[in-house]
């Protein structure tokens, strides 16, 4: 759970079930870390069906930026934040995961039930029922949402109903009477739109005066369903002119037609593949320019550092170690930002839910249920939230299988490696690069599915469960949400580059710079020849001497010795000692590979080339053979698609799967598979004569 905003509050008083609100309308001051007032925080739980905008409302009230999307089940855990009213008492909002019913046997429903019953509280808080419940309902789907309202009212807690997406209902010519609904429910009903901000001040005021409803809905499921239908029918009417009716029918027809296409077993898959390829092609085409700019910026920065400082160890350390190493990772920022921006836009349209529906048919033969789609999709950003999202999978075997294969999905940490290698393999061709890039994603998915099949046929044998998912309405994507997501992910990446990657780069620079050794006889000889040679030959002889010295120094450095020690393990895959070091150092985090290459292979020679060009054209110790031959690059690419090179993922797997043995199994299987596949690719290409 994100604990944003929770640390500053104090423990609420036990049994303070009566809200300490005054009746004056509060002006909502956004302060996510507001300290607790003298009365302690008042706890309000946000409850609602999936995809009704609870998190959007939560973010609006608390000024936070938790992930929201037009996809059911985005929130998997309860989160807390502070809404502060001008009453001296801060209000603690608890954003509960979306549930269709409180009575379901799902972990999300259990969390909701326990929070409402007061047997579950955020860490550091005293166990107590919330002071009020805000049931967020979708105005465009009143009857179904009222079922949950009925279940909430049965809890006899002060309740406010937020009639969210009221703007969308208006656009659909649905007229809902909040006063009528209020009379029938016996609690306050506030029409609002969390997306546009409409009605939120009124909702804040209503929360401050929440009261226990003077009505209890029927206790049986059938009775509740009848009541919900009747209530919805009584307060909602459709006012449509003949013209608007035609427009609605046309719009509905368009939605149906789109759904028929997007959820078609074959056409849907073709659309999905086209959308994904278009996404990657756009990323490669657009990211090229900012990448070049960043590359040049870091090169200029390195040059400036060298010019500003006198020649020596510090100058070399800062220019080649710190600036060069960090720059080699930061260069991939445009790709990461573009990927998250486009995925966020796509999510917001409601298309991804259709994609999940299509993928359900394809996941089932591999022993995974459609529930696995969301965790697997999330894993394309990062395996950690993907594995945590597996909590929503009701079946244990399904859940374990999904946890085990989630890291096969290509996460954003792999992007720098994919970009580096696809650029090396296909220089100057955005089309081929994007095809290879897409192929990496596909290869990861295929490996994950086959691994899931193997797991379900062996260690996790058993029947699967069917999947039911609501298809959200199509919406225009929110540019702001996409920009905020992009900003957050970009910042996270930069933070990582500025901390973990910087630390690794610094250590690598030291290891590759010491101990210092005497130059080789060939270099001394070349320098002697240069002194006696004509000016035209002098330059090339001196360059050759510098190359020999650099190569000799690197090969005899601590890094060189370590690399040569581990090289026999990776030699069958075509990796020299420099690549072997890159693979080993990136075990902590995959993106370190690019920085390692920048420090090890590109940091030794002073040329006018950019970091990417230096890495691409780097040679092995003999000075002739490229580090990245075609066969080696393909072998590396396959290795990084399949290998488990992420320590935090192993830790989360152990926690979520309920044992370290699952993490070890994941590590052994993925690394073994990666090694075998890379070996097969390299040896096959070599046998086929591909250098």
């Amino acid at each position: 759970m994100s604990d944003s905003g929770t640390s500053a509050g104090t423990v609420a008083e036990q049994g303070s079930s009566k809200p300490g609100f005054q009746e004056s309308a509060p002006s909502i001051a956004i302060d996510p870390l507001a300290p607790a007032g003298p009365k302690g925080p008042v706890r309000i739980a946000l409850l609602g069906n999936p995809n009704t905008g609870k998190t959007t409302l939560f973010n609006r009230f608390c000024g936070l930026r938790h992930k929201t999307s037009n996809f059911p089940g985005t929130t998997q855990e309860a989160r807390t934040g502070f809404l502060r009213a001008d009453l001296g008492s801060p209000i603690e909002l608890v954003d509960l995961p979306g549930v269709y019913s409180l009575e379901l046997e799902q972990s999300e429903a259990e969390i909701c039930r326990r929070v409402l019953a007061g047997t579950l509280a955020p860490p550091g808080r005293v166990l107590a029922a919330p002071d009020a419940v805000c049931v967020v309902i979708d105005s465009t789907n009143l009857a179904r949402n009222l079922l949950l309202v009925g279940e909430a009212l049965r809890r006899r807690l002060p309740t406010v109903v937020a009639l969210n997406m009221i703007d969308l209902a208006r656009r659909q010519h649905l007229v809902i009477s909040p006063p009528a609904l209020e009379r029938l429910l016996g609690c306050e009903v506030v029409p609002c739109s969390a997306r546009s901000g409409e009605g939120l001040v009124e909702l804040g005021a209503a929360l401050a005066t929440a009261r226990i409803a003077n009505f209890t809905p029927p206790g049986t499921q059938e009775g509740l369903e009848d009541w919900a239908m009747q209530t919805a029918g009584a307060v909602q009417q459709t006012r449509r002119s003949a013209r608007s009716e035609r427009a609605r029918a046309k719009s509905s027809g368009a939605t149906d037609r789109l759904d028929r296409l997007f959820t078609h077993p074959m056409a849907g898959l073709a659309v999905f593949a086209t959308v994904m390829f278009g996404l990657f092609w756009t990323i490669f085409s657009l990211a090229k320019f900012p990448m070049d700019w960043i590359d040049l910026l870091f090169k200029s920065l390195g040059g400036w550092v060298q010019a500003a400082l006198p020649p020596g160890i510090l100058s070399d350390f800062l220019a080649n170690g710190v600036v060069g190493g960090v720059g080699a990772t930061v260069i991939f920022l445009p790709q990461i930002c573009l990927l998250f921006f486009l995925i966020s836009l796509l999510e917001d349209t409601g298309y991804l839910a259709r994609a999940a529906f299509v993928m359900d048919r394809w996941l089932r033969p591999f022993g995974l249920s459609g529930h696995a789609f969301v965790p697997l999709l999330s894993s394309h950003a990062c395996a950690l939230p993907g594995i945590m999202a597996c909590r929503a999978i009701p079946d244990r075997r399904d859940r374990l299988a999904t946890i085990l294969v989630a890291p096969f999905m290509s996460c954003s940490a792999r992007i720098p490696v994919y970009v580096l290698l696809t650029v090396v393999l296909f220089p100057g061709s955005a089309l081929k690069q994007s095809l290879a890039f897409s192929a990496c994603y596909v290869a990861g998915i295929v490996a994950g599915l086959l691994s899931a099949l193997l797991a379900r046929r062996t260690i996790l044998r058993g029947p699967g469960r069917p999947m039911a998912m609501e298809l959200p309405t199509y919406k225009a994507p929110s540019l702001l949400t996409a920009l905020l997501t992009t900003y957050d992910r970009g910042l996270l990446f930069l933070k990582k580059a500025g901390t973990n990657i910087l630390a690794i780069v610094v250590v690598l620079w030291w290891l590759s710079s010491y101990p210092q050794v005497a130059p080789p006889p060939e270099a001394t000889q070349a320098r002697a020849q240069a002194a006696a040679a004509a000016p035209i030959e002098q330059e090339s002889l001196l360059a050759e001497a510098a190359r020999l010295e650099g190569s000799h120094a690197l090969a005899n450095s601590f890094a060189g010795r370590i690399g040569r020690t581990i090289q026999p393990v990776f030699e069958p895959l075509g990796y020299d000692w420099q690549l072997s070091i890159g693979v080993v150092t990136s075990f902590a985090a995959r993106e370190v590979f690019a920085s390692t290459m920048a420090v090890i292979v590109a940091g030794t020679e002073e040329t006018d080339e950019t970091v990417m060009a230096k890495i691409s054209s780097a040679t092995r110790s003999d000075g002739v053979t490229p580090v990245f031959t075609t066969a080696t690059s393909w072998s590396l690419l396959i290795y990084y698609v399949l290998a488990m090179q992420c320590l935090p993922t192993l830790a989360v797997t152990a926690r979520e799967a309920g044992g370290v043995r699952w993490a070890f199994l994941q590590l052994a299987w993925m690394t073994g598979l990666a090694y075998g596949a890379a070996l097969l690719v390299y040896q096959s290409l070599r046998a086929a004569g591909v250098a």
């Binding site: 326990r114 579950l120 166990l127 973990n500 210092q516 320590l647």
Partner: protein, 60 residues
């Protein structure tokens, strides 16, 4: 390898070595889980999003 192969008389060497040692410490912290550090006091239970009476929510 002897000390002579390291530029021990250059103060800049000691500066970068100190920085590298700090970085190595950070890398070690990143690679080795906190609970494996011998001086880390192990907390009862495991981290949880929500707790019941200080204990994690059992998952079904």
């Amino acid at each position: 390898m002897t000390l002579a192969t390291l530029p021990v008389h250059d103060w800049q060497f000691w500066v970068v070595t100190a920085i590298a040692l700090v970085a190595a410490w950070l890398v070690l912290r990143m690679v080795v889980p906190a609970r494996w550090w011998p001086w880390k006091k192990r907390r009862a239970g495991r981290p949880a999003s929500l707790t019941i009476g200080g204990k994690t929510v059992p998952r079904k």
